[in-house]
Symmetry: C2
Subunit: 488 residues, 2 copies
């Protein structure tokens, strides 16, 4: 008797028809009701189960719509033939992994070799680099902007993927604050700065192309170009940043961080910038300028962007709000030459690299109302003091072991071992002791030429920096002894 | 005299040092101060300009940092040699387009052929398809969720790109509401559903691979696969959706919309679903299930997802909040098999496909507090009534010209011409008359086999639908006359 296989619960939120449908589906799928079986009429089953006939009819119709039953007027429903084999997967059996999993594309397989993004422990600790201090962010003001933006009713104008108000606010800021020359329609608003690199890579790189990047440099850029099949050539640095490459042939793309070279923080002077532009072959070379923390220049006014020097429309300028505001905001942007504006926006929509409209409009308010500049000015002072604090403590407590290169701007600094030696083992010991640092050698694009520590100061309070340096001093006393011991 | 070339404004917000730096930079860049020129001492220039010596020193140091000047203690600053040629781009000359623009990659060039995304006029008009009605969205509740999320201070834990709370809320909803079986860590939160296709394409498609899609089908999917260099084969539909392909070799990937086939709205019954799973060759074929509007089923409960029938871990399930909530929210998601969870998250971070943390947490609150299901239930009733209204009016006013296929769910319907004929010209006339419709033939993946109109009903009020149908009736009376005239 079918009715005996069904147990309905009148207090269950799901409702009787839903319960009956679910249970019948499971009975068919599991084979307890056989293929070809003729089920009771709805009237009959309703009486057996003491439910309304509508309840049963509803369940039968649903299962017919799903393809389990064949129903016809004045006929009892029939379980569809050979449903049993076809439904192998529908029973709630424990899931097992495929024995023969489909292959991934070469791009995905290359990700393993590329080794980026790196994984972190869940916990954030001093002196992790590359971060803004979210504790200094004006959350109340931002919450107000978000709320106001969400209440502004827009009527289905969502194909405007780059909100005009934010484009204009960014345009004004980039011109006065960063020396970027662009019209609003050259600015693409993206979920992250890394998405800007995705867009640039997709539109410019063909497998086999050559790309120059600074070495050491930002690993996320090298990873994006490598995964796309480009040959990435690491170009050495001198005190002014990226040097003139000794390569005879111009590359397809040059990636540079002229405001504050990542990771050294060196500022590229204007003469070197014009050399860089000259190294880009007309008709061949794109230049990507990543101005990830150009807001934070401490000892003089920031240099105008390389983009502003470019007359040929070959510079693609990447920026982000993750450093100047907080990483949670997740908005990056890309400024493209006028000739690429249309193509790039099509590519952006094609790839679905679109940021929340609510966040875009909140950000445009945050900028227009002056909160953005006020915040940047405020944390610039705080970060500068933190840089000075870290530099002073390193000199005082670790001056004999470490040689810190104090940058004019940015959010991190590098410190080299005066006595040389490998950095990875030291980093492991520091991390184990509770200080999060990165090995300079891990930022090498080709073979590591340089060894040392990358230390973030922007996200960490002076008390946190003090504590971290104390731990480092304890650890590196051991390191110093070891290095000396080895030398003997 | 240098001082005569400079005009400082003591009321200018920029400050005297900033003004002086700017003006000197322009004078050097434009060549009015020659290369090799020796500038006045800071003391001397300060007297000439009637400013403090610090102001001049500051300007000189800034320009030295930028590479325009060479400064040394007790020496007058010198404009760096050959700066003039190098700086060609730094003068504020009118921007001109590059005569020789660098080439784009084949991917970007293919976008032109792919013809997607299509461009719309700026204005949204009835009966544009594929949209939710943003006017019905509970903006106040959403604004509250966003505000609360922004006020929740997080301390730099931003590497969690997929917020655990949203993953869990989605996991629960997808299991009970859509029959998707997954753990929270199999769910990737992305900026858009199209970004999910970007991720899938990047990780699975090698140029030359074969992909099957429904024909007619969702153009954004075919476009993504084609741009990646795949051979896209359009598979015909019957009343149950995608048919068994007559292809002898299994493809690399099958893209399907089983809940409501796009654009016909047909529901794929369970037997066809198991056939589809069986068509995927073990060790070779991925299946992408795009459940873009699975929430909106009107005549019976929604069918459980194909993903829930898959025991082999080959189905990648794509969803979005753009339809169930509002397109402004910009959150899509991808459910991947357990074996792919780690690789896909690395790929997601690599591509920078990360949604705003504030929006993710607001959404998790919106779901946990029951607002999501309440909203879906509410608009489901509204959209059903709109579907019925459109279907009734089409039958009443255009029944002799159009044959509407009324779907069991979704947000749009198709209507074919009873007398045949091309659709594009009719669409042009309707758009000109103020009704936004799409040609069914424009959704063909291969050669158009079918002609008709795609009409959206979800986003439009009954009064708007009535007005649109009236306009259509006026237009299509002409069409009917014309077709008859041609037949004569």
């Amino acid at each position: 008797m079918l009715a005996e296989l069904v147990a309905l619960n009148r207090w269950d939120e799901a409702g009787l028809a839903a319960q009956l449908t679910h249970q019948l589906r499971e009975l068919i799928a599991s084979g307890r009701i056989k293929r070809g079986a003729v089920l009771p009429s709805s009237r009959h089953l309703a009486v057996e189960l003491d439910v309304s006939r509508n309840t049963v009819t509803h369940a039968y119709e649903q299962l017919a719509a799903e393809g389990y039953l064949r129903v016809a007027a004045r006929r009892r429903p029939v379980v569809i033939d050979d449903i049993e084999e076809r439904l192998a997967g529908a029973t709630p059996v424990p899931r097992r992994e495929a024995t023969r999993k489909p292959q991934l594309a070469p791009w995905a397989l290359r990700l393993e070799d590329v080794g980026w993004p790196m994984s972190y422990q869940a916990e954030f600790r001093p002196l992790r680099a590359g971060l803004a201090d979210a504790r200094e962010f004006p959350h109340e003001i931002w919450a107000r902007c978000l709320r106001r933006s969400a209440l502004r009713r827009r009527f289905n104008d969502q194909t405007l993927v780059n909100r005009p108000s934010l484009r204009q606010a960014l345009c004004d800021y980039l011109e006065t604050g960063r020396g970027v020359r662009a019209e609003a329609n050259q600015i693409l608003i993206l979920p992250t700065a890394q998405a800007a690199l995705t867009l640039v890579t997709a539109t410019t790189i063909t497998p086999g192309d050559t790309v120059w990047t600074e070495d050491p440099g930002y690993p996320g850029a090298a990873a994006a170009f490598r995964a796309a099949g480009a040959k990435v050539v690491g170009i050495r640095l001198d005190q002014w940043g990226m040097t003139r490459a000794r390569q005879t042939r111009a590359p397809k793309l040059i990636f540079a961080t002229p405001s504050h070279q990542h990771p050294t923080g060196r500022v590229m002077p204007v003469a070197r910038r014009t050399e860089l532009l000259a190294a880009a072959e007309p008709g061949k070379t794109w230049i990507v300028e990543d101005d990830y923390d150009g807001e934070f220049h401490y000892d003089s006014r920031p240099m105008p962007a390389l983009q502003g020097l470019d007359r040929e429309g070959r510079v693609l300028y990447v920026g982000t709000f993750a450093k100047a505001m907080t990483a949670d905001i997740r908005i990056g942007y890309l400024v493209v030459p006028p000739s690429l504006a249309r193509t790039m926006e099509v590519a952006q929509r094609h790839l679905g690299l679109i940021a929340s409209v609510h966040v875009q409009e909140a950000l445009s308010d945050f900028m227009s109302d002056g909160h953005f500049l006020a915040h940047v000015r405020r944390v610039r002072r705080i970060y500068r003091a933190r840089r000075d604090h870290l530099a002073t403590l390193l000199e005082r407590h670790l001056g004999k072991v470490l040689d810190a290169e104090v940058p004019h701007g940015g959010m991190q600094l590098i410190a080299r071992f005066r006595n040389g030696g490998a950095d990875r083992e030291v980093v492991d010991r520091l991390v184990a002791a509770g200080v999060e640092v990165r090995a300079l050698s891990s930022l090498a694009v080709e073979r590591p030429r340089d060894s040392g520590l990358l230390l973030g100061f922007a996200a960490w309070r002076e008390s946190e920096i003090s504590r971290a340096v104390r731990i480092m001093a304890d650890c590196l006393a051991g390191k110093r002894a070891q290095v000396l011991g080895r030398a003997v």
